[in-house]
Symmetry: C2
Subunit: 337 residues, 2 copies
């Protein structure tokens, strides 16, 4: 077999897996935002009828997976693999969502890059010949993430100008070895980049250099210009991080006209009091599995480079004075193989 590796970080699939189903579930605030029409379910009660925020997150993830499986017309037991992750300690959002489902499971942790990481690995499993069906699922919840990473909600702390708002939402994608697309055609695996930012309320600034590194590697590995894609979209850099990435490319002599960020797309930044925009692994998960993939199916875009961005910090590392290691994984999705 010839290698599928292109350059240092990218693989080109021999038989690009097809996206057979995708779905997303969100909370009230996301449903009040500009992408409301692209969500499969908008729940008005952020508890999702559960007794804790963590259980709400699990419920949401289960609903997204079920909906994506329904759209793919497949039973959970058909899946050869499920890759899933979230932001909670020991990834309990996912562990409890997957419990009771009859699917071989690999838990992953890439912080807010979870959607891209899980999708990358699911696609690699199928192209590698290890099965016919694989699913990827990811979630975050504003209320569980705030008490996890920052302060309890009841504390009512003032948010800083660079703060972002964790998306309450879950997204799931079902991949098939054969199908009508859209197809996952390439994956660029990120390296950890840490430029020394220590402010846990400036995720966009911390993650931007990782996004820049991965996008640049992707373009170089495949010898592509940014204009090859109809849209290059990062996961949750927010307003500030997005500007930083654009600035990095500008310095390289490239002005990206087709660049956007799920964190700036998911909320109305002027009117929803979210400061720099959305964040959390639910952010890129719901934008990908709603707005972006729906848009591809509707013919709006044919080639998207989806770049999940993640900050690999924890409250403990912040308290111990550490800076924030970040990562970005890129997944190329195209309507034609």
């Amino acid at each position: 077999m010839t290698t599928k590796k292109k350059g240092k970080q990218t693989v080109a699939f021999a038989n690009p897996p097809s996206i057979a189903g995708h779905a997303c579930v969100v909370g009230k605030k996301e449903g009040d935002g500009p992408l409301a029409g692209s969500f499969d379910l908008i729940e008005q009660d952020d508890t999702f009828g559960e007794a804790s925020w963590e259980k709400a997150e699990s419920a949401m993830q289960k609903m997204a997976l079920t909906a994506a499986l329904d759209k793919a017309k497949q039973a959970a037991s058909t899946m050869d693999y499920l890759f899933g992750g979230d932001l909670l300690n020991q990834c309990i959002g996912t562990g409890f969502a997957v419990r009771g489902q009859d699917i071989p499971f690999y838990g992953i942790y890439g912080a807010c890059s979870n959607m891209a990481e899980s999708l990358s690995l699911a696609a690699m499993m199928l192209d590698g010949g290890f099965g016919e069906w694989a699913a990827a699922v990811t979630s975050s919840h504003f209320c569980s993430a705030e008490r996890q990473y920052r302060t309890p909600l009841e504390y009512g702390g003032q948010r800083t100008p660079t703060a972002q708002w964790t998306v309450t939402g879950a997204g799931a994608t079902v991949l098939a070895r054969e199908g009508d697309g859209p197809y996952v055609t390439h994956v660029t695996t990120g390296k950890i980049v840490d430029k020394g930012i220590k402010d846990a309320n400036n995720m966009g600034g911390a993650m931007a250099p990782a996004a820049y590194q991965t996008i640049k590697a992707h373009l170089e590995d495949l010898n592509r210009k940014p204009s090859y894609y109809d849209l290059i979209v990062t996961g949750d850099l927010g307003r500030l991080g997005k500007e930083i990435v654009l600035d990095f490319f500008h310095r390289d002599g490239m002005d990206l006209a087709n660049f956007d960020d799920c964190g700036t797309l998911v909320y109305d930044l002027e009117n929803q009091d979210v400061h720099c925009g959305g964040s959390g692994c639910g952010c890129s998960a719901v934008v990908l599995n709603g707005y972006l993939l729906n848009g591809m199916r509707a013919g709006r875009w044919n080639k998207i480079l989806f770049c999940g961005t993640g900050a690999l910090l924890s409250p403990t590392s912040t308290q111990q004075g550490e800076s924030i290691p970040c990562i970005c994984h890129a997944v190329a999705v195209e309507t034609k193989k």
Copy 2:
């Protein structure tokens, strides 16, 4: 390409990846145990010269990876992929260990099944044609895990009879697409099994049903008898969990003469005050990358089924009254392809 899938949960590699290097680093208590001779480095100071237990764990993981790369005679930058995980919130043990290393990285979370999960995915990447080299690294630290999952060390809580002792150690394996073995020949991906156990001090009892399910699936998928293997070894079931697995198989009419558990191997259970034995993802990581792989190289065993066992709980899920979802991934390692 014909599928590599056998039955519902197992894959047989077309071109089994070769273990080119393996190493493990442990703390003092592990060095006082019966496997002392198999460890590459025994550190007498469990801080590893760092200012916190979490940083000590990162340091340990970095040392294990460096040693495994040295044995494989490869630079970090040669690796196409690194898969790594630990037990800490947001997997900071791994994130900070990998920071600054020039390797495309996928973070994973399978609790104490991390070594088997990372090894499975690394092997699949190579057999799938996505690269030439991949590494897997995993760690746990008694001091960071105790304050993470149970109580601060200073509290001096009484340990229950079913408690296990988290291994302070890290293990790393370097895989190559071509080489002289031992080879990773098969992987069986686990499903989540939760039989309702809620006692966070009875990990062995909680995980045993998952281990039984995966081993059984492996044998059925490949139509093998347990006696095919020289050794079937679980990750960290401890004395109680090991007995439960043996009991399950006994009910099926199979008496496993070749079954053992890394948690019972790593300490002297009579004299080291570890109650039911070792646990933590460092447990199976150091036993695999020391005792087991050294033993294979020395001709003691030719066929080992390595079954990493993980309990996907968190302190939050325990406080919220949840039972413990568990998982087990099995990796077959053989000296001949």
